[in-house]
Subunit: 354 residues, 2 copies
């Protein structure tokens, strides 16, 4: 065991009764811009079939761990604390940890990965397997039970499609933010609805019930006031929160709202198709099967106008082998399952070598 | 003459030789987010034809006078200083001022107007005519030599269409910023070009020479780096500065760039058409003539792919009476001419009454 980087955080380890915490565990972390979740999972024997749902010993939650938002020191402390909480809750400690998979938004370059790995290396003994991934990868794994194969489509405030082949190639599409054309995202849908209200008001566009619905929810009396409302707060999530209104208006038969949702379906499907095409996930004849994991508020099937269902339909027309999956477990569990898979692969390699 | 609000600014008035500064003058101000221009113009007798170009005694320039950007106190000081400078340069002083027209961006509500008028009233004697307008109105007047009739289309970093009827009705379209659909603006064109580069890179869109052209100008090595570049600085003008590259690529035959410019032409024309339609500027038969003033970098006719010319063509198809005007004078002169027109109307009214 290496030096204790932060005495207070790991104090609980000294207070544990002898003999407890011997069961091998894995930590899976999902670090987003709003919250950070850490899951502690027992190491399932590689010979056993993976239980469904996967067993979870403990779950801990903390605030934002995006270093762009809160700074590196605060992000590190949050991540370290949430890991300690999950271990403590499961009656375990660092000596029981076999592997850690940290899935965080904004990890795009090998340098990001290396920086985080170096820091994790300070906390855990050298035999612990450490893995750092983009949060989209954990979302994929949450649908494939840890296997890195297929394509994940995330559509919440933002949107991204991320894919992996079984031989380790990867590709992404979209995920570049609203200025750079993520029009299928929750932000994109809502911004187009606001635009439609402005256009109906100044004569550039047709009448739409989006006007009365949006003004009512925001407590505004005229579309002119939308300008002030929009620019008063640059948060994309605040705009994206209007998506349910757009869905309601579309369900009520509004042509403009229907058009916006249809466009978003095409945009989202186009991201997935680009990834599938580049990776050849559909095989040479275009009919090969691959998992298509669907994640995020925009794709949730809780409305009669079901954006996720329409996206799947649109993709299946071109790629009939797409196997749509709506994950039953959260991304942090996906991260833990990723770590489990990595461990298994490494143990297989060692087996071959020996 | 009222009390001196700011002794230092107006000190020059005490130092003027007696007998100078007796000629009646008008001040026209154009207050934008980057700079503020004040023009001092002699009062032309109302019976005389307006000289072309209109006579200008002096021109003074200062920094930003947008109170949203620099705060109210700084904005006021800038405006007061630039007026003092223009008067001083023309060898005149406040006792010679007959009217002031202040055209500033962001004046949309009567409350904005009243606040600025109250403050101007503190600087000038009570007989001085004071007028506060949106900057788009001064742009229109710069093309119609002070007459409030017709439609102005401004397309620079942002875009807006603003129109007036001869009987005083007014209407606007667009001008709601990039989130709310100003896609024909310089920002809109450039954001679509950046999006096209991202889409070509991740497989969602076709190949385009915009990629190599934009990366070269920005000194970046991969489209992935555009994400960091875009979000590093939220200034819309910085993005809009890429428009000339889009025009060059379109001129070189790039389909994607051509498509973006064609879309922007349709968007800009749609703003003008909405205003013309709502105000009935084209008369009952749709063939009535009206001035169409074209202002801003996006509409400047310095390229073979001439966005402004295409917009005019598109509008003329529907409204053959549109008389396109590219102003030869700047908006501050337009503001001064507006003040001159207001003065003339008031003197005519007084004439009728007496």
């Amino acid at each position: 065991m290496k030096r204790y980087r932060n005495g207070e955080i790991w104090d609980f380890e000294h207070e544990m009764p002898v003999g407890i915490g011997c069961r091998d565990v894995i930590l899976g972390l999902d670090g987003g811009t709003t919250s950070t979740v850490c899951i502690c999972m027992p190491v399932i024997p590689f010979s056993d079939p993976l239980p469904d749902p996967p067993p979870v010993l403990a779950r801990a939650v903390a605030g934002c761990s995006n270093h762009n938002s809160v700074g590196e020191a605060a992000a590190r402390e949050t991540l370290e604390q949430v890991m300690a909480d999950a271990l403590s809750k499961s009656g375990s400690n660092r000596s029981a940890v076999r592997a850690v998979c940290l899935a965080v938004s904004g990890v795009n370059h090998p340098t990001d990965e290396r920086r985080i790995l170096n820091w994790l290396r300070d906390i855990f003994p050298s035999h612990v397997g450490l893995y750092v991934q983009n949060d989209a990868v954990a979302a994929l794994a949450s649908g494939t039970l840890g296997k890195l194969h297929g394509c994940v489509l995330i559509a919440g405030t933002g949107t991204i499609a991320y894919g992996f082949t079984e031989d380790g190639r990867e590709a992404r599409a979209a995920g570049a933010g609203p200025v750079l054309g993520d029009w299928g995202s929750g932000y994109g849908i809502a911004a187009q609805a606001l635009t439609a209200v402005i256009k109906a008001h100044d004569g550039r566009g047709p009448y739409t019930i989006l006007t009365s619905s949006i003004l009512k929810v925001l407590g505004l009396s005229s579309p002119d006031e939308l300008i002030g409302w929009t620019y008063a707060d640059p948060s994309w999530a605040r705009i994206a929160a209007l998506v349910p209104i757009v869905v309601s208006c579309a369900e009520a038969g509004d042509d403009v709202a229907n058009r916006i949702l249809c466009d978003s379906v095409l945009e989202l499907a186009s991201s997935v198709k680009a990834v599938v095409q580049r990776l050849g996930l559909c095989g040479e004849d275009g009919n090969g099967s691959f998992p298509l994991v669907m994640v995020g508020g925009v794709l949730e099937a809780n409305k009669s106008w079901d954006i996720g269902k329409e996206v799947i339909k649109c993709i299946s027309n071109q790629y009939p082998g797409a196997l749509a999956i709506r994950p039953k477990v959260e991304p942090a569990v996906g991260a833990a399952l990723l770590a489990w898979n990595f461990l298994m692969k490494e143990s297989l390699k060692k087996g071959f070598k020996s």
